[in-house]
Subunit: 463 residues, 2 copies
C-alpha cells in the first residue's frame, strides 16, 4: 500500500493535468449542438483505460456512448463496479461564470469548471487510484470494473437496457459511486439514501400567436396566467403537495434517523449563509436537513413565456411553459405520480388552452442498509484517505441508475462523495477542491485493499 500511496503522492500534478484536460471537453449531453464534444469525452475515457491496459470498450447506444473497462479477475476476492458519468449539465447562465465553464481555472485550491465535481473530478479519483496500483504494484488487488456513461444528466435512458442485457459482464459484489458530497469540509461521509425524481415539462398553448394585450386582454385565457394558476395549485401554503395520492407511499423517517440528523455538525445559520438566503422555508414540521434528504418536494426548474427582453411589451403570449420536478423518497413511484399529476392538471385546465405534459425522466429513491462489510471497508478506506471516519448521511439529489444496479445486479451501492455542498453543482462556477481530489484518490486506492480483505458476497451468504 505504501508503494501505491507514494505513486499517488508523486503524481499529483499529472493527475491534475488529466482532470483539466477532461474538463476542457464541453460534454453537455442535453445540448444536441455538443454531440461531438460529448463523444470526445467518451473517447478520452477510453484512452485513460487503455493506458492502464484494461480491457476497454466503447459501447454505442442510440444516444451518447457508454465506456466500459475492467481489470483482470482476482479469484476469491470481491468485484467492485465503479459507475460514473462523463457528461455534464448545461453551463447556462454563462454570464454568471467568473472563468468560462470549459476553461478550468484554479483559484484558492479549487478547480473551477462545469463538471469539476459532477462528475468528472470525482469519477477520475477511481481511475487514478487504479493507475496508482497498476503503475506501482503492477495490478489491482481485486477486480475493478468501470462503467462510465454519457447520459446521466439527461435521464440515463440507454444505460438501464445495457445493464439488463449484461448482467454477467457487470456481475459484482459492490457498486462504487462518487457523485455526491462530504457532509462538510473535513467531515467525509457515506451516503446511505438518495431521493428519486420525476421531471416534467408543461407546455400550454392559447391563441394562434401572440396578441396585443390591450385589444384582446380579458376575452381569452392567457396561457401564462393559466400556467401560474396550475403551478401554484401544486402546493398549499404549508408546502404540502396537492396531487392526490402523492404522499401515499412515503416512508416516514424513524426517530433514530431524526436524532442522528440532529446530531450532525450543522446549523441553519450556516446553511443560509452557504446558499445566500435571508430566510428558510419548507414543509411544516420538518427540519431543514429532513426536508432536503428525506422529504419529497416539488420545485419549478424553469419558466418561459411572452416578452422577456428589455423594457415593456404589451403582449398576450400565445404560449407558456414550465420545467418542474418532484424529488421522491424511497417507495414513491415516479410513474404513479406522473399519472396522478396528468389527471390533476387535466382537471384544472382552463377553457381555450391546450396542454402538453412531457415526462422527461423519473427514478425512485434509494436507501442502502448500513450493516454491510463493504460499508465498513469503505469507512476504513475513507479514514485512510481523509484522516477521519465518515458520518452517515442521506442526500437530496438523485442518482437514478442506482435503483437499476441494485435491481439488476443484486448489489448495493457505496455512495462515497468527495464533493462539498458549496461546489455549485448544476450552477455557475462549479468547482472541486484539488485536495479532495487527491484525498479521494488515496481513499479509493485504500478501498481496493480494504475490499480485498473482505469476503465476496457468496462467502458472506455462506454459499
Amino acid at each position: 500500500m505504501d508503494t501505491v500511496s507514494s505513486y499517488i503522492q508523486s503524481h499529483r500534478q499529472a493527475f491534475e493535468d488529466d482532470l483539466s484536460a477532461m474538463l476542457r471537453i464541453a460534454s453537455v449531453s442535453a445540448d444536441s449542438r455538443q454531440r461531438a464534444e460529448t463523444r470526445r469525452a467518451a473517447d478520452w475515457m477510453v484512452e485513460q483505460f487503455k493506458q492502464l491496459n484494461l480491457a476497454t470498450e466503447l459501447v454505442e447506444t442510440a444516444g451518447h456512448p457508454l465506456v466500459y473497462a475492467e481489470s483482470p479477475p482476482v479469484p476469491g476476492r470481491p468485484v467492485a463496479l465503479v459507475y460514473g458519468h462523463y457528461d455534464v449539465q448545461p453551463p447556462e447562465p454563462l454570464d454568471e461564470w467568473i472563468s468560462p465553464p470549459f476553461e478550468p481555472t484554479v483559484r484558492s485550491g479549487n478547480i473551477y469548471a462545469r463538471g469539476a465535481t459532477d462528475d468528472k473530478g470525482q469519477m477520475l479519483t477511481h481511475v487514478k487510484s487504479a493507475e496508482g496500483w497498476i503503475k506501482s504494484v503492477g495490478k489491482l488487488p481485486i477486480q475493478v470494473k468501470f462503467l462510465i456513461e454519457g447520459e446521466e444528466e439527461v435521464g440515463s435512458q440507454h444505460l438501464a437496457p445495457f445493464v439488463k442485457q449484461n448482467r454477467e459482464k457487470l456481475a459484482c459484489d459492490t457498486i462504487v459511486i462518487s457523485d455526491c458530497g462530504q457532509f462538510a469540509p473535513g467531515v467525509p461521509a457515506i451516503t446511505y439514501g438518495l431521493r428519486g425524481i420525476a421531471y416534467f415539462e408543461l407546455r400550454l398553448r392559447g391563441p394562434r400567436q401572440d396578441l396585443h394585450s390591450g385589444t384582446f386582454g380579458g376575452a381569452v385565457t392567457n396561457p401564462a396566467g393559466a400556467l401560474v394558476t396550475l403551478l401554484s395549485a401544486l402546493k398549499d401554503k404549508d408546502g404540502r403537495i396537492q396531487v392526490p395520492g402523492f404522499y401515499d407511499d412515503v416512508v416516514p423517517l424513524t426517530e433514530r434517523e431524526r436524532d442522528e440528523f440532529r446530531a450532525l455538525p450543522a446549523t441553519d445559520a450556516e446553511f443560509m449563509q452557504q446558499v445566500g438566503v435571508t430566510d428558510m422555508w419548507g414543509e411544516a414540521d420538518f427540519t431543514s436537513i429532513e426536508r432536503r434528504w428525506a422529504r419529497p418536494t416539488c420545485d419549478i426548474n424553469g419558466l418561459t413565456s411572452g416578452y422577456q427582453g428589455e423594457g415593456a411589451k404589451t403582449v398576450l403570449p400565445a404560449k407558456a411553459s414550465a420545467k418542474f420536478s418532484f424529488r421522491l423518497v424511497p417507495k414513491q413511484d415516479p410513474h404513479k405520480i406522473g399519472a396522478a399529476l396528468r389527471k390533476f392538471l387535466d382537471e384544472r385546465l382552463p377553457p381555450g388552452i391546450q396542454m402538453e405534459l412531457i415526462d422527461h425522466h423519473g427514478a425512485p429513491g434509494v436507501v442502502v442498509p448500513l450493516d454491510s462489510p463493504y460499508i465498513r471497508a469503505a469507512a476504513k478506506a475513507i479514514e485512510h484517505g481523509f484522516g477521519r471516519a465518515p458520518v452517515y448521511i442521506r442526500e437530496g439529489g438523485s442518482i437514478p441508475i442506482v435503483n437499476t444496479f441494485t435491481r439488476e445486479l443484486g448489489a448495493d451501492a457505496l455512495l462515497l462523495g468527495w464533493g462539498q455542498n458549496d461546489d455549485n453543482t448544476h450552477s455557475p462556477n462549479e468547482k472541486f477542491s484539488l485536495d479532495d481530489y487527491h484525498r479521494g484518490t488515496l481513499a479509493s486506492a485504500h478501498l481496493w485493499q480494504e475490499l480485498a480483505d473482505t469476503p465476496p458476497r457468496q462467502v458472506l451468504r455462506g454459499e
Copy 2:
C-alpha cells in the same frame, strides 16, 4: 377637393414606396441597440415634412427625439393637431415572421412589417393627405400641426413634459390620432373610448445563485414558485382582480352602451377563429366585447426563470421575474392601483425572497363625448374615404398620451383607426391593408375640408 383626390389617386405607388422606406427602419424604442435606427426614423419624418415646406423641428429629449411640424395658420378655421409615433414594438419572436420584420413585403394586398399598422402606416396617411393638398391646391384648408414621437411603445415619458411646456405652440381645436382599428373589414369606426394601462415588472430573488434542486430543494423558497403563487393570487377563479380597491373607481357600462355593443356585426365564433382559440374566457357576467373594451383586466406579458433550454436541468433558480399589466377603464387611477398592488404583493411575499416591483408606465382610460361637431366632421370624412358611415366603438388598447393632450390642451381626440383587428399589432407578421392605407389618406384629406367647414372651439363656445 377633386384636385386633391386626383393627386392622391395618381400617387398611390409613390405613397406605398414611402411607407416601405419608413418600414425598413428598425425603430424599436425599447431596444437600446436600435438607438441609431430609432433616430433615423425621426430624421426620415423631418425630411417628409420639409418636402411639404412645413415649419419643421427635431426636438431632442433625454430619450428618443420628437418631430414637430406645422402648416401656416388659417384664421377663422379650426386647428388640428395630428399625433402619431415613429417607434415600433420589438419584433420578437423572430422565427415566427413569414417575411423579416424590417423587410416590408406585400402579400394579398397587405404590407407586412413591424410598424405597418402601429403606427407608421396609419400615421403616414395624414402626412400624405397633407401632401395631397399642398402639392395640388398649394395649401391646406386649415392649420394642421404634426407631433410625432418615438417613445409611444415605451411609455411616452418625454412627450408629456413637452406638451406641458408648449401649450401655446400645440394649441388646437381637435387632436387627430390614427393608432387603432376599424370595427371590421368594410366597417370603419370612430373610437370614443380607450382603456388605460398600468404595466409592472416583478423581480424576485432567492438564493445567491442557482442551486441544485435535489440537494437543496425543499429547504429554501424557490423564487419561481413564489412568482407563480403571487401572480396566481392576482385573480380569482371568476377572473375578478383581487387587489383591494381595484374596482372602486370603475364606471359601469350604461345599458345603452351594452345594447349598442350587442348590435355590432360580430360573433364570438368569428372572434375565436380570428385569434385562433378553441374557447373564450373572461370576467363573469360580461360579453366578450365588453371584456375587451370596457372592463379592466390583468394579463401576464412575460415570464422568465431558471433553465429554458433544451431538455431537463435540475436547477432551483436564484431568480424569477414577470412582466404583467392591468388594463384600466376611465376613472381608474394607475398610481392608486400601483400602490395597492405593491402592498398586495408585499403582504404575500414568502420568507427568503427579495422583491423588486418596477412600474414601467401607466395611463388612465379615456372616453370622448360623442356629441361634438368634430366627431360629425370626421364621420363625414370617413364616409367619403371608405364609402360608408362609421360605427362608434371603444378599444381595449391604450394611447396613454390622449389623457395628457386632453388635460393640457383642452381638446378632445378624434380616434380614427384605419387598421384591422387581425393586423397582428405587437405580434409577428404585423400587417396593414394597402387599400386601407389609401382609403385612410383620402378620408384624412376630406377631414381637413370638413374641419374647415366647422367653427373653431371659441366660436362653438360663443366666445
